[in-house]
Protein backbone atom coordinates (compact mmCIF):
# COMPACT_ATOMS: atom_id res chain seq x y z
CA UNK A 1 0.00 0.00 0.00
CA UNK A 2 1.37 3.40 -1.01
CA UNK A 3 2.34 5.87 1.65
CA UNK A 4 -0.03 8.84 1.89
CA UNK A 5 2.38 11.75 1.57
CA UNK A 6 -0.28 14.17 2.80
CA UNK A 7 -0.66 12.42 6.16
CA UNK A 8 0.37 14.54 9.13
CA UNK A 9 3.84 13.80 10.52
CA UNK A 10 4.87 14.99 13.98
CA UNK A 11 8.52 15.93 14.61
CA UNK A 12 9.41 16.18 18.32
CA UNK A 13 12.67 17.83 19.39
CA UNK A 14 13.67 20.53 21.85
CA UNK A 15 16.21 21.97 19.40
CA UNK A 16 14.59 24.17 16.79
CA UNK A 17 17.49 23.58 14.42
CA UNK A 18 16.96 19.81 14.52
CA UNK A 19 13.22 20.27 13.91
CA UNK A 20 14.15 22.44 10.95
CA UNK A 21 16.62 19.87 9.60
CA UNK A 22 14.19 16.94 9.89
CA UNK A 23 11.31 19.03 8.51
CA UNK A 24 13.41 20.02 5.48
CA UNK A 25 14.46 16.42 4.88
CA UNK A 26 10.84 15.24 5.14
CA UNK A 27 9.76 17.92 2.67
CA UNK A 28 12.52 16.79 0.30
CA UNK A 29 11.19 13.25 0.62
CA UNK A 30 7.74 14.50 -0.36
CA UNK A 31 5.87 14.78 2.93
CA UNK A 32 3.58 17.78 2.82
CA UNK A 33 1.99 18.01 6.25
CA UNK A 34 4.64 18.32 8.96
CA UNK A 35 4.03 19.59 12.48
CA UNK A 36 6.36 19.86 15.42
CA UNK A 37 6.46 19.82 19.22
CA UNK A 38 9.22 20.85 21.64
CA UNK A 39 8.92 17.90 24.05
CA UNK A 40 6.99 14.73 24.81
CA UNK A 41 4.28 16.48 26.79
CA UNK A 42 3.44 18.91 23.99
CA UNK A 43 3.61 16.07 21.48
CA UNK A 44 1.25 13.85 23.48
CA UNK A 45 -1.23 16.73 23.81
CA UNK A 46 -1.10 17.31 20.03
CA UNK A 47 -1.56 13.60 19.39
CA UNK A 48 -4.84 13.66 21.32
CA UNK A 49 -6.32 15.97 18.68
CA UNK A 50 -4.58 14.85 15.49
CA UNK A 51 -4.25 11.53 13.77
CA UNK A 52 -0.55 11.50 12.95
CA UNK A 53 0.67 8.92 10.47
CA UNK A 54 4.21 9.04 11.84
CA UNK A 55 6.01 10.42 14.90
CA UNK A 56 9.74 11.18 14.73
CA UNK A 57 11.01 11.97 18.22
CA UNK A 58 14.19 12.91 20.04
CA UNK A 59 14.87 11.11 23.34
CA UNK A 60 16.37 13.73 25.69
CA UNK A 61 13.82 16.48 26.30
CA UNK A 62 12.29 18.31 29.27
CA UNK A 63 9.83 17.89 30.91
CA UNK A 64 8.78 14.70 29.11
CA UNK A 65 11.40 12.63 27.30
CA UNK A 66 10.84 10.86 23.98
CA UNK A 67 11.09 7.54 25.85
CA UNK A 68 8.25 8.57 28.16
CA UNK A 69 6.25 9.77 25.15
CA UNK A 70 6.77 6.41 23.44
CA UNK A 71 5.52 4.53 26.51
CA UNK A 72 2.52 6.87 26.88
CA UNK A 73 1.65 6.40 23.22
CA UNK A 74 1.94 2.61 23.39
CA UNK A 75 -0.23 2.55 26.53
CA UNK A 76 -2.97 4.62 24.88
CA UNK A 77 -5.59 2.53 23.09
CA UNK A 78 -6.26 5.24 20.52
CA UNK A 79 -2.61 6.01 19.75
CA UNK A 80 -0.77 2.75 20.32
CA UNK A 81 -0.57 1.82 16.62
CA UNK A 82 1.09 5.12 15.60
CA UNK A 83 4.42 4.47 13.85
CA UNK A 84 7.17 5.89 16.03
CA UNK A 85 10.83 6.50 15.08
CA UNK A 86 13.36 7.61 17.67
CA UNK A 87 16.07 9.98 16.40
CA UNK A 88 18.58 10.54 19.16
CA UNK A 89 22.17 10.96 20.33
CA UNK A 90 21.46 8.34 23.01
CA UNK A 91 23.41 5.45 21.54
CA UNK A 92 24.01 3.16 24.49
CA UNK A 93 22.90 -0.43 24.12
CA UNK A 94 20.54 -0.01 27.08
CA UNK A 95 18.80 2.85 25.27
CA UNK A 96 18.26 0.90 22.07
CA UNK A 97 16.99 -2.16 23.93
CA UNK A 98 14.71 -0.08 26.18
CA UNK A 99 13.22 1.71 23.16
CA UNK A 100 12.74 -1.55 21.29
CA UNK A 101 11.04 -3.14 24.30
CA UNK A 102 8.83 -0.06 24.67
CA UNK A 103 7.65 -0.56 21.11
CA UNK A 104 9.62 1.86 18.96
CA UNK A 105 9.39 1.02 15.26
CA UNK A 106 12.88 2.18 14.36
CA UNK A 107 15.86 3.95 15.86
CA UNK A 108 18.27 6.46 14.30
CA UNK A 109 21.42 7.72 16.04
CA UNK A 110 22.49 11.32 15.52
CA UNK A 111 24.19 12.55 13.47
CA UNK A 112 22.33 11.01 10.55
CA UNK A 113 21.80 11.76 6.87
CA UNK A 114 18.85 11.96 4.50
CA UNK A 115 19.42 8.43 3.19
CA UNK A 116 19.27 6.97 6.71
CA UNK A 117 16.07 8.86 7.51
CA UNK A 118 14.48 7.76 4.25
CA UNK A 119 15.59 4.15 4.84
CA UNK A 120 14.04 4.02 8.30
CA UNK A 121 10.78 5.67 7.22
CA UNK A 122 10.57 3.17 4.35
CA UNK A 123 11.20 0.30 6.79
CA UNK A 124 8.35 1.54 8.98
CA UNK A 125 5.78 2.79 6.44
CA UNK A 126 6.76 0.93 3.28
CA UNK A 127 8.09 2.17 -0.04
CA UNK A 128 7.16 5.72 -1.07
Amino acid sequence: MAVDMSMPVLVVDDYKTMIRIITNLLKQLGFENIEDAADGKEAFAKMQNNNYGLVISDWNMEPMTGYELLREVRADDKLKATPFIMVTAESKTENVIAAKKAGVNNYIVKPFNAATLKGKITAVLGEF
Binding site: N60, K92, T93, V96, K100, N106, Y107, V109
Partner: protein
Protein backbone atom coordinates in the same frame (compact mmCIF):
# COMPACT_ATOMS: atom_id res chain seq x y z
CA UNK B 1 38.09 29.09 88.20
CA UNK B 2 38.66 25.30 88.35
CA UNK B 3 42.23 24.29 89.24
CA UNK B 4 44.25 22.12 86.83
CA UNK B 5 44.56 18.42 87.85
CA UNK B 6 48.34 18.73 88.36
CA UNK B 7 47.74 21.75 90.60
CA UNK B 8 45.29 19.69 92.69
CA UNK B 9 47.84 16.87 92.94
CA UNK B 10 50.47 19.38 94.14
CA UNK B 11 48.06 20.67 96.82
CA UNK B 12 47.26 17.12 98.03
CA UNK B 13 50.97 16.32 98.12
CA UNK B 14 51.69 19.53 100.06
CA UNK B 15 48.97 18.69 102.60
CA UNK B 16 50.38 15.19 103.12
CA UNK B 17 53.94 16.54 103.53
CA UNK B 18 52.82 19.03 106.15
CA UNK B 19 50.93 16.24 108.01
CA UNK B 20 54.08 14.09 107.95
CA UNK B 21 56.19 16.96 109.24
CA UNK B 22 53.83 17.43 112.19
CA UNK B 23 55.46 14.50 114.04
CA UNK B 24 52.69 11.97 113.71
CA UNK B 25 53.52 8.93 115.90
CA UNK B 26 50.64 6.67 115.03
CA UNK B 27 52.23 3.94 112.84
CA UNK B 28 49.17 3.08 110.67
CA UNK B 29 48.59 6.76 110.05
CA UNK B 30 52.23 7.17 108.94
CA UNK B 31 51.75 4.29 106.49
CA UNK B 32 48.55 5.87 105.18
CA UNK B 33 50.37 9.14 104.76
CA UNK B 34 53.20 7.37 102.86
CA UNK B 35 50.69 5.69 100.54
CA UNK B 36 48.86 8.95 100.05
CA UNK B 37 52.14 10.62 99.18
CA UNK B 38 52.84 7.98 96.52
CA UNK B 39 49.30 8.31 95.27
CA UNK B 40 49.68 12.10 94.96
CA UNK B 41 52.94 11.58 93.00
CA UNK B 42 51.20 9.12 90.69
CA UNK B 43 48.30 11.56 90.23
CA UNK B 44 50.68 14.35 89.38
CA UNK B 45 52.51 12.17 86.85
CA UNK B 46 49.25 10.94 85.31
CA UNK B 47 47.63 14.36 84.99
CA UNK B 48 50.91 15.88 83.82
CA UNK B 49 51.17 13.40 80.95
CA UNK B 50 47.47 13.91 80.23
CA UNK B 51 48.03 17.66 79.95
CA UNK B 52 50.88 17.08 77.51
CA UNK B 53 48.75 14.72 75.38
CA UNK B 54 45.89 17.24 75.22
CA UNK B 55 48.33 20.02 74.48
CA UNK B 56 49.83 17.88 71.69
CA UNK B 57 46.34 17.18 70.28
CA UNK B 58 45.43 20.86 70.35
CA UNK B 59 48.70 21.74 68.64
CA UNK B 60 48.02 19.13 65.95
CA UNK B 61 44.50 20.53 65.40
CA UNK B 62 45.82 24.10 65.28
CA UNK B 63 48.51 23.08 62.75
CA UNK B 64 45.92 21.24 60.68
CA UNK B 65 43.58 24.25 60.65
CA UNK B 66 46.49 26.52 59.74
CA UNK B 67 47.53 24.17 56.91
CA UNK B 68 43.92 23.90 55.69
CA UNK B 69 43.66 27.68 55.70
CA UNK B 70 46.84 27.92 53.62
CA UNK B 71 45.57 25.25 51.21
CA UNK B 72 42.22 27.02 50.86
CA UNK B 73 44.06 30.26 50.17
CA UNK B 74 46.15 28.47 47.52
CA UNK B 75 42.90 27.15 46.04
CA UNK B 76 41.95 30.79 45.36
CA UNK B 77 38.22 30.03 45.84
CA UNK B 78 37.23 33.67 45.36
CA UNK B 79 39.10 33.83 42.06
CA UNK B 80 37.50 30.56 40.91
CA UNK B 81 33.93 31.51 41.88
CA UNK B 82 34.25 35.20 41.05
CA UNK B 83 36.26 35.16 37.85
CA UNK B 84 37.15 31.80 36.33
CA UNK B 85 33.75 30.03 36.46
CA UNK B 86 31.71 33.09 35.37
CA UNK B 87 34.29 33.66 32.61
CA UNK B 88 34.00 30.06 31.42
CA UNK B 89 30.21 30.32 31.57
CA UNK B 90 30.27 33.44 29.38
CA UNK B 91 32.57 31.70 26.89
CA UNK B 92 30.18 28.73 26.65
CA UNK B 93 27.19 31.06 26.20
CA UNK B 94 29.10 32.72 23.37
CA UNK B 95 29.84 29.31 21.80
CA UNK B 96 26.11 28.47 21.85
CA UNK B 97 25.24 31.89 20.38
CA UNK B 98 27.94 31.69 17.66
CA UNK B 99 26.92 28.19 16.58
CA UNK B 100 23.23 29.16 16.58
CA UNK B 101 23.91 32.20 14.42
CA UNK B 102 26.06 30.23 11.98
CA UNK B 103 23.50 27.41 11.78
CA UNK B 104 20.71 29.93 11.22
CA UNK B 105 22.66 31.57 8.37
CA UNK B 106 23.55 28.27 6.69
CA UNK B 107 20.04 26.81 7.05
CA UNK B 108 18.38 29.96 5.74
CA UNK B 109 20.70 30.11 2.73
CA UNK B 110 20.08 26.43 1.98
CA UNK B 111 16.29 26.76 2.36
CA UNK B 112 16.30 29.83 0.10
CA UNK B 113 18.24 27.94 -2.59
CA UNK B 114 15.89 24.95 -2.32
CA UNK B 115 13.00 27.27 -3.19
CA UNK B 116 14.90 29.34 -5.80
CA UNK B 117 13.60 29.75 -9.34
CA UNK B 118 15.80 28.01 -11.89
CA UNK B 119 14.23 29.45 -15.03
CA UNK B 120 17.13 31.84 -15.56
CA UNK B 121 20.35 29.75 -15.23
CA UNK B 122 22.66 32.79 -15.08
CA UNK B 123 20.66 34.48 -12.31
CA UNK B 124 20.35 31.14 -10.49
CA UNK B 125 24.13 30.59 -10.62
CA UNK B 126 24.72 34.09 -9.30
CA UNK B 127 22.27 33.40 -6.46
CA UNK B 128 23.92 30.04 -5.67
CA UNK B 129 27.44 31.57 -5.69
CA UNK B 130 26.40 34.37 -3.33
CA UNK B 131 24.63 31.94 -1.00
CA UNK B 132 27.62 29.59 -0.95
CA UNK B 133 29.93 32.47 -0.08
CA UNK B 134 27.68 33.44 2.85
CA UNK B 135 27.67 29.82 4.03
CA UNK B 136 31.47 29.67 3.87
CA UNK B 137 31.72 32.95 5.80
CA UNK B 138 29.34 31.60 8.43
CA UNK B 139 31.65 28.61 8.95
CA UNK B 140 34.30 30.97 10.36
CA UNK B 141 32.50 30.55 13.69
CA UNK B 142 34.44 27.30 14.12
CA UNK B 143 37.74 29.15 14.68
CA UNK B 144 36.19 31.38 17.35
CA UNK B 145 34.34 28.61 19.12
CA UNK B 146 37.51 26.49 19.11
CA UNK B 147 39.37 29.28 20.94
CA UNK B 148 36.51 29.80 23.38
CA UNK B 149 36.25 26.10 24.19
CA UNK B 150 40.02 25.97 24.76
CA UNK B 151 39.66 28.74 27.34
CA UNK B 152 36.96 26.76 29.15
CA UNK B 153 39.09 23.61 29.08
CA UNK B 154 42.00 25.59 30.57
CA UNK B 155 39.74 26.82 33.38
CA UNK B 156 38.48 23.32 34.12
CA UNK B 157 42.06 22.00 34.22
CA UNK B 158 43.05 24.81 36.60
CA UNK B 159 40.18 23.96 38.96
CA UNK B 160 40.91 20.24 38.71
CA UNK B 161 44.59 20.77 39.62
CA UNK B 162 43.77 23.05 42.56
CA UNK B 163 41.08 20.78 43.98
CA UNK B 164 43.29 17.69 43.58
CA UNK B 165 46.18 19.41 45.37
CA UNK B 166 43.84 20.55 48.16
CA UNK B 167 42.32 17.10 48.54
CA UNK B 168 45.75 15.44 48.59
CA UNK B 169 47.21 17.91 51.12
CA UNK B 170 44.36 17.37 53.58
CA UNK B 171 43.97 13.65 52.92
CA UNK B 172 40.31 14.10 52.01
CA UNK B 173 38.26 10.94 51.36
CA UNK B 174 35.09 11.06 49.26
CA UNK B 175 31.92 10.55 51.28
CA UNK B 176 29.07 8.51 49.89
CA UNK B 177 26.39 10.95 48.81
CA UNK B 178 22.73 10.70 47.97
CA UNK B 179 21.59 10.79 44.36
CA UNK B 180 20.04 14.13 43.40
CA UNK B 181 16.55 14.34 41.87
CA UNK B 182 18.13 15.32 38.53
CA UNK B 183 20.52 12.35 38.61
CA UNK B 184 17.62 10.03 39.51
CA UNK B 185 15.61 11.26 36.53
CA UNK B 186 18.60 10.90 34.19
CA UNK B 187 19.12 7.32 35.40
CA UNK B 188 15.45 6.38 35.13
CA UNK B 189 15.08 7.95 31.71
CA UNK B 190 18.38 6.44 30.51
CA UNK B 191 19.73 9.89 29.67
CA UNK B 192 23.39 9.42 28.88
CA UNK B 193 23.88 12.07 26.21
CA UNK B 194 26.06 11.83 23.12
CA UNK B 195 28.97 9.41 23.41
CA UNK B 196 32.55 10.59 23.01
CA UNK B 197 34.05 9.45 19.66
CA UNK B 198 30.69 8.71 18.06
CA UNK B 199 27.75 6.46 18.89
CA UNK B 200 28.40 3.56 21.27
CA UNK B 201 26.19 1.29 19.17
CA UNK B 202 26.62 1.72 15.42
CA UNK B 203 23.59 2.36 13.20
CA UNK B 204 24.27 -0.94 11.39
CA UNK B 205 23.95 -2.88 14.66
CA UNK B 206 20.71 -1.06 15.48
CA UNK B 207 19.44 -1.81 11.98
CA UNK B 208 20.19 -5.50 12.52
CA UNK B 209 18.10 -5.42 15.68
CA UNK B 210 15.17 -3.73 13.91
CA UNK B 211 15.44 -6.00 10.89
CA UNK B 212 13.66 -8.70 12.86
CA UNK B 213 10.07 -9.32 11.92
CA UNK B 214 9.13 -9.95 15.55
CA UNK B 215 8.24 -7.25 18.01
CA UNK B 216 10.22 -8.66 20.92
CA UNK B 217 13.93 -8.30 21.45
CA UNK B 218 15.46 -11.75 21.64
CA UNK B 219 18.73 -12.64 23.34
CA UNK B 220 20.55 -13.04 20.01
CA UNK B 221 19.66 -9.46 19.08
CA UNK B 222 20.95 -8.22 22.41
CA UNK B 223 24.09 -10.34 22.12
CA UNK B 224 24.71 -8.89 18.66
CA UNK B 225 24.73 -5.39 20.16
CA UNK B 226 27.39 -6.39 22.66
CA UNK B 227 29.67 -8.07 20.07
Amino acid sequence: MVAAPTEVADKVKGAITSLKESNVRDRPLVEVLELSHQLADAMKFFFGSLDQTIQGEFKYIADFISKAKDEISDLCPNEISGERIPGASLELDAVVKDTEEATETIMTEAETLMCAEIDDPAAYKEQVDAAMMRMIEACSFQDLTGQRVNKVVTTLRHIEERVSAFSEALGVQDNAREETAEEKRDREQLLNGPAIDGPEVAQDDIDALFGDAGDDVNQDDIDALFD
